[in-house]
Symmetry: C2
Subunit: 318 residues, 2 copies
């Protein structure tokens, strides 16, 4: 089967919109909503199996099975308390081997934000998808404008076959999650060196902030009874990196197996063949649209694609 | 007062989101929804004063004051019938001097689409805002990369003082609505010549499709009892035009009074001073973000701005 660009975008922005009332209601009635300690805002969508596990921890959360809501306990009224108590619980679950997801424990904290865009708590990275809270990352499109033809080629790595997630799939030139200690540009620098051997001085000179994509992902669409149905709202900051043809990315941490400089036709073919990791496909379609490679003239779903790649999430963000 | 970039975006994307439940409900209960002949999809948000006027035309629409919905009559079951009957009524209202808006009658048809992205009907341009249906346009950012500094300057026109809408305000280099006879690129060519004297051959060589902005505009926020509260969902296709410094845009049809090549600092100052037409401000903020001029490092509302400039509209689009 050959995927259209919209098919690829729908694999990233999976959760139904409220306009599609029937599907949206069905989705909402299949998950629990994760709510702030004062009940004033929502933090994420959680699977019933996680809510059920939470039921035994009333000092941390209150589970309302009628309203299908999980409230952070109102006594956890500070950033420090919330972060401490929730991470302790995650650690217990990890020690008990309770969720597959927690086996990927990273010792890396991700920040969750309030509607005022202030840090509300910090949680272990591997815990976040279980709660369905917003996560952040950066993606970099490394490309070369060929001196002879003026055409664009993109540097595309293949993910290591030993990576726990999406092994062997094609990826963006560089991509990485944003931990608590790093801003966007710092994440870009750090990951560009680790994943592609590109130095900070090279990056500072050539990298350009160009926007973001945001979407409501569900790992396995419509799955609510297994961990694989976790919901993940994400914001990925996008950077373009126009590279000279003499600079060759090379893996340092070996998260990537190899890099290949691909012409647009090859990238399109491999995209439509489903060879790219889901959100990287979204990043590349966005790249194509910003660079006039995909235009309103030849893409019938141009508007829907643009909108779904910039979804306003139903939760507070940075 | 100095506007932030988010303030400017909120002046374009005005209608509350459904997440802001209270404001959204208030908005919804202040307008009528315009519904397709078979009741299967919504077409726009209409002011009560327009719905009231429709009540006297049961052969064309059915008004449900309880549900606050205006249905196209079910017997208007073809593109031709709907277009003909609705435009006839608009013409009658125009002849009777019934709405201020219709005084701007253009003899220009705009296409309204079904959920399958097929033409559903075509309506007189000046009639569309009264019905609150989606309208389309193209905006072009003309800019020069200064050979000496490498910095970007933008070509900014001032709207003629005699234009009926937004007289004297600053504008994008070129902008125009998309009538039924023209696709995006055709509109770009046509308007670029009329507004800036740029030839088709120059445009074809230099113009680049780079995305779109979409939003739910209301001319006077929160106004529902006068025509000035009309709701306008819009999609504006965006094009970048990198120009050499020898090419000077000059008005042909004199919709623009003059063009000035402005440095980014001046554009920012005039934006924050509220001198740009509302949707042009959105187009320029989007330009700044795509060109690394506004970045996540220095813009606290980066995510919200990106999302609101790419709003998924609650109506079918092209």
């Amino acid at each position: 089967m050959e995927y259209s660009f919209l098919d690829l975008v729908k694999k990233v922005d999976v959760v139904p919109y409220y306009y599609d009332k029937k599907q949206h209601d069905q989705f909402k009635s299949s998950v629990y909503t994760f709510v702030s300690h004062d009940g004033s805002f929502t933090l994420g969508y959680m699977l019933p199996m996680v809510a059920k596990e939470f039921e035994r921890h009333e000092d941390i959360v209150r589970v309302d099975n009628t309203k299908r809501q999980v409230y952070i306990n109102s006594c956890l009224d500070s950033f420090e308390l919330r972060s401490k108590k929730l991470n302790q619980l995650a650690k217990t679950w990890y020690d008990e081997g309770r969720f597959e997801h927690l086996k990927g424990w990273r010792n890396e904290l991700y920040t969750i934000y309030s509607p005022e865009k202030r840090p509300y708590m910090q949680l272990e990275r591997a815990f976040c998808p279980l709660l369905g809270v917003v996560m952040y990352g950066c993606h970099i499109n490394g490309y070369v404008v060929m001196p002879d033809t003026g055409k664009i080629k993109m540097w595309v790595p293949r993910r290591s076959a030993s990576k726990p997630s999406y092994p062997g799939m094609l990826d963006c030139t560089v991509a990485g999650g944003m931990g608590d200690r790093y801003g966007c540009l710092e994440t870009v620098m750090k990951e560009s060196y680790e994943e592609a051997g590109l130095t900070s001085s090279y990056m500072l000179k050539h990298v350009k902030s160009v926007g973001l994509i945001s979407y409501l992902y569900q790992y396995e669409r419509g799955t609510f009874t297994s961990e694989n149905g976790f919901v993940q709202p994400e914001v990925e900051y996008i950077y373009d990196l126009e590279m000279d043809s003499a600079t060759i990315p090379r893996p340092v941490d070996h998260e990537a197996e190899d890099f290949k400089l691909m012409g647009i036709e090859e990238v399109v073919r491999r995209l439509k063949n489903g060879e790219f990791k889901h959100n990287c496909a979204g990043v590349i379609v966005d790249f194509f649209m910003r660079h006039g490679i995909v235009t309103p003239e030849d893409e019938p779903d141009y508007i829907e694609i643009q909108n779904r790649l910039h979804r306003r999430l139903p939760f507070p963000t940075r």
